[in-house]
C-alpha cells in the first residue's frame, strides 16, 4: 500500500496540527484562517556512465498558517509544530496581515466553498519508496551501459525521482482534509560531444524524464532499457546533421514539446491572478482579459484545452486544492474560443465566479497561488503518422531543449533537441539545433491538425516557477502531436 511515511514509523496527528494552528490564529485575532500541516518526502537517483552521481533523500515537514484580518492576508510558516511555536507563528501571521493595512485596498472577499471532511490518496500501485534501492540503481546502470555501447556516446545518464506529499488542511470554515499524492518517474539521456558541438537526446522526455501521479509501476512502463540504444544513436547522429534552416515552414511538434507549448502559451496566460496584476512585477501579466471570455478566438477550431485536476496520473491531480476547493474540470478553450480562467477563492469574485480550485502552494512553507492543475490539449483524430503523411514539406521537432516567452505570454521561442525534415509525407534527414518562434494567438490559430487519443500522453512538469518568494509547482499536461502552418523555424 502506498501511504505517507511518518517520522520513526509513528502515526503523527498531522491534521490535528492544522486544526490547532487554525484555533491559534483565531485566538490571535484572525477573521478567517486556514492551515496546512504537511510532510514532503523525496528520493532522487542519478547515474552517469555507469557510476552513481547522486543519491539522496529529503524529508521536510511543518505548518503554514494563512489568515485574513480586516480583509488583508497574512501568512507565516514554521517547521516546528509544538504548541508554543504554533502560537508564535499564528500571531506573526496576524501581525503580517495588520501591517498590510498601511496601504489602502479593497478588502479580500472569498468565494463560497462547502467545507468538507475527507481523506484521499492519489493513485499508486507500487510504493516507490519500498522498491529496493539496488533495483533502481541496477535499472539506471543497465540503461547507461546500453547507451555507452553506442560508438560516439560521450555521456550516458539516467535519473529516477520519487515524491510524496501529505497535506492536512483545516480552516475556520470547518474543513478537515487529509490528502497524499505520490509521483514517480525518470528518464535517460545520451550526450555526444565532438568538434566543438554538444548534442543531447532524452527519453521519454527532457529535464528528468517523464513523471506521473503514480507509483513505481509508472517507471516499469517507461521502457527505459528498450529505448536506450536508439536514444544514443540519435544523439551521435545529430553531430553530423545539418542545422535547422531559418525559414517559414509547416511545423509538426511531438507530444513532449506540445506539453511545454501548452504550458507556456496557454496555461500561464489563463491564470486569473496574473490577469488581475498580482504577478506583474515578477512572472508578468497576461494578454488575456476578463472580457475575452466567450469571445477571444485564441486558436483554430481544432483546439480545445481543458484544466482538469481530477485527471488520473497527472502531477496536477488532487482531490482538493490548498483552499479546500474540490478538484474541477474547467474548459479553457472550446473549439478554439477562450472560455474560462483558472482561479482562486480571492480572484474568482472579480469576474463574478466561484473558485474553480487551482490554489496550490510549494509545500507547507509557502502561500498558495493559482497554479496550473493538468492543462491538456484535447485529442483530435488520427495518428502522428497520418499528420506526417499529410505534410508535403515541413519540419518535425521533438523534445524540448529551451524555452522563453514574454511577460504577457505573447512572443515565444522554443528550442528542441532534434528535428527531421518532412518531404512528401515522409520523415527525411535529422536537423540539429532546431528552434521556432511565434506569437501566441497567431500560432494557435495556425493549427490544422491534432493527433488522436492513441497519441495522447499525460506529461509531468515538476518545475513550474512562480511567485515571490519563488515557488515550484508540479503540473500536468495531456497532449498529442499537432501541426502548425507558416511558422518561423531556425531562429538563431
Amino acid at each position: 500500500m502506498c501511504r505517507s511515511r511518518l517520522r520513526d514509523g509513528e502515526e503523527e496527528p498531522v491534521l490535528d496540527v492544522a486544526k490547532r494552528a487554525v484555533d491559534a490564529a483565531t485566538a490571535a485575532g484572525a477573521d478567517y484562517a486556514d492551515a496546512r500541516a504537511g510532510r514532503d518526502e523525496t528520493e532522487s537517483l542519478t547515474v552517469r556512465n555507469q557510476e552513481m552521481e547522486g543519491i539522496d533523500r529529503l524529508t521536510s515537514s511543518g505548518v503554514g498558517i494563512r489568515v485574513l484580518v480586516a480583509g488583508r492576508w497574512g501568512f507565516a510558516a514554521t517547521a516546528r509544530t509544538d504548541a508554543e511555536e504554533i502560537e508564535r507563528a499564528a500571531a506573526l501571521a496576524v501581525e503580517q496581515a495588520r501591517a498590510a493595512s498601511l496601504l489602502p485596498a479593497d478588502p479580500v472577499e472569498l468565494s463560497p466553498v462547502e467545507p468538507v471532511t475527507d481523506h484521499w490518496h492519489g493513485p499508486c500501485q507500487e510504493d516507490p519508496f519500498d522498491v529496493p534501492l539496488e533495483e533502481k540503481v541496477a535499472l539506471l546502470m543497465e540503461a547507461s551501459r546500453r547507451m555507452q555501447q553506442v560508438r560516439g556516446t560521450t555521456f550516458a545518464s539516467g535519473v529516477l525521482d520519487f515524491y510524496r506529499r501529505r497535506t492536512c488542511f483545516a480552516s475556520t470554515d470547518g474543513a478537515a482534509i487529509d490528502q497524499t499524492v505520490t509521483h514517480s518517474g525518470g528518464g535517460i539521456e545520451a550526450t555526444a560531444i565532438a568538434d566543438g558541438q554538444v548534442q543531447r537526446r532524452s527519453f521519454p522526455n527532457s529535464f528528468r524524464g517523464h513523471l506521473a501521479g503514480a507509483g513505481y509501476e509508472h517507471v516499469r512502463s517507461l521502457g527505459l532499457l528498450s529505448e536506450s540504444e536508439r536514444t544514443a544513436h540519435e544523439a551521435v547522429d545529430l553531430l553530423t546533421a545539418p542545422s535547422c534552416p531559418d525559414e517559414v515552414t509547416t511545423l509538426v511538434l511531438d507530444s513532449g514539446q506540445m506539453e511545454l507549448q501548452v504550458h507556456e502559451s496557454v496555461g500561464h496566460a489563463v491564470e486569473l491572478d496574473r490577469v488581475l496584476g498580482m504577478e506583474a512585477a515578477y512572472a508578468g501579466t497576461s494578454f488575456v482579459s476578463p472580457g475575452d471570455r466567450g469571445r477571444l478566438r485564441y486558436a483554430s477550431p481544432l483546439v480545445s484545452i481543458t484544466a482538469d485536476a481530477s485527471l488520473r496520473g497527472g502531477l496536477g491531480s488532487f482531490a482538493y486544492d490548498d483552499e479546500g476547493v474540490a478538484a474541477h474540470r474547467t474548459p479553457i478553450l472550446v473549439d478554439g474560443v477562450f472560455q474560462e480562467f483558472i482561479s482562486s477563492r480571492e480572484t474568482a469574485p472579480a469576474i463574478g465566479e466561484a473558485s474553480n480550485g487551482t490554489m496550490r502552494a510549494d509545500g507547507w512553507s509557502n502561500l498558495p497561488l493559482i497554479r496550473m492543475t493538468n492543462i491538456s490539449l484535447e485529442p483530435g483524430q488520427g495518428s502522428l503518422a497520418d499528420i506526417i503523411g499529410d505534410t508535403k514539406d515541413g519540419i518535425y521537432m521533438a523534445t524540448n531543449k529551451s524555452w522563453s516567452i514574454d511577460d504577457k505570454r505573447v512572443n515565444f521561442q522554443f528550442g528542441c533537441e532534434i528535428a527531421w525534415r518532412i518531404r512528401n509525407g515522409v520523415i527525411a534527414e535529422p536537423l540539429r539545433d532546431p528552434t521556432y518562434a511565434g506569437i501566441t494567438t497567431e500560432f494557435w490559430n495556425s493549427c490544422d491538425a491534432v493527433a488522436g487519443p492513441e497519441e495522447w500522453t499525460v506529461w509531468g512538469t515538476p518545475n513550474c516557477g512562480k511567485g515571490q518568494p519563488g515557488q515550484v509547482a508540479r503540473v500536468g499536461h495531456g497532449t498529442s502531436p499537432a501541426r502548425f502552418r507558416n511558422v518561423r523555424a531556425g531562429v538563431r
Binding site: R48, G54, W73, A99, D406, V491
Partner: protein
Amino acid sequence: MPGAIGRDAFLEIVGPALELDRVDGVEALLLHSWSANTRFASSQIHQSTAREDTSLRIRIVRDGRIGVAETNEVTRDGAVAAARSAREMTDAVGSDPAFPGLAPVAPIPEPAPLDTTTAEASPAYRAETVAAVVDRCGAGMHAAGAYETGAIELGLANTEGQVCWAPHTQAALNVVVTGPNGGSGFAEAIAPGIDGVDGAAAGARAAGKAGASADPQPIDPGTYEVVLEPAATSTLVDFLGFIGFGGRSLLEGESCLSGKKDTQVAAPSISIVDDATDPGTIGAPFDFEGVPKRKLDLIRDGVFRQGAYDRRTAKQAGTVSTGHGLPAPNPDGPLPLHLCLEPGSSTVEEMIAATERGLLVTRFHYTNVVNAIASTITGMTRDGTFLIENGRVVGPVANLRFTQSILEALRDTSLVGTRAELSGEFFFGVSRVPALKIDRFTFSS
C-alpha cells in the same frame, strides 16, 4: 523573529551524527533561513508572508560509497536518523573512484555578528518602505513588486575536523511601475542590510521610466547598438556563470569556454571576478563542502583565466578546489555564485551619447539558453526599452526578443559603466555589474 541557532547549538545537534558507526566519514551541512516578504500589486499590499525553515544535509562516506539524506527535523535524533538513512544508501551503490574525500581543516574567517536590524525587520517596516514606493507613483500609475528581508545561517562540520559557520542577512526590493498607455518601468535595490534599500528612490526611478515609456512604438528586429543598464547586464553575466565558468562543464567540453584558457574571449575592458569576500556582495566565505572561497579572476582584461572548481572537479583537473562546491550530491558540478563585472569609466549618459542608432534596455525577461556551446541565449526586453538616435534617447519602443551569443556581446562591448550594482536575475542569484555599451546585439523578433 525566530531565533538564530548559533554555531555551538549546531555542533551540539550534529555531534552524534558525526560519530555514527560503520562509516568512514560524515559531513553535516546546515542551512537555517528565516525571511519575510511584503508583496504588492496595483499599489496595494496583497501578500504579507513570513517563513522559517532549516535543512540539515548529512553526507556519509563508507568504503568509497556515498549517500546523502536531508531532513528539517533539526534535532540530535533527526540528524542521526538522516545519517542512518544516508548510510543505508551506501549499501546500494558502488564505490566512487572520483570522490576526493571530505574537506580537510582550513581556516575560515570569523563571521561578523548577525545584523539583527535586518533579520528582525518587521512587516510594518516593510510596509512603510512599500508605501514610499507607491508614494512616488504619479497619476494613473500603479506599483507592483516585493520587499523581502531575512537571514541565513550556514554551517558545516565534518569528521576531518573542518567546522564552518557564517550568518548573513539580505534585503531585496524590486519594483515595476505601470503607467498610462503602456508605460512600464523597473527598479531594484539589493543589499546586505535594510540600510541599503531606499524605497522612495526605487519608486521614483521606476515611475520615471514608466512615464517615459508610454506609447511604445514597434521597431523592426535586427542588429542594433545597445546600452544595457545593470539589470540587463546581469542577465549576460549570470548566464555566462551558469554555462561557462563551472569546472565540470569546462572539463567535459560542454562550456562555451572549454579549451579557451588564456584566450581573448571578450573586449579588453571586460574583467569578471567571483569574490564572496567582497563586502559589496552577499553570502558566506566558504562553500557547501566547507572549502574557503577564493577570489577568482575568471576573465581578466578580456582573457579567460580560470574556472570555478569544487573538490571533485579540482581533483579531475589536477588543481585545488576554489571553494565553489554546491550541496552534495551535486551532479551539475561547481558554479560561481558571487559574480562581479568590474566597473569601467563611462557613464550611461556617455554611452547614450556614443550611440548612433541603438536601444537602451532596462532589463530582460525570461531568458534561457538556446545553445550553450555557442553561449547563445534568448529572452525579451521588459519595463523600459528606448530608441537612441544620434546620441539621444528619442522615445520608447515595444519590447523585442533578443537571440544573442554572450561571448560575442562581450567581445563587441565598447564601453563599461562606472558604477556596479547588485542585481538579481530571474533564474539565478545576485551579481554585481555595471551598464554596458555593446556595438552589435541581435534582436530576432
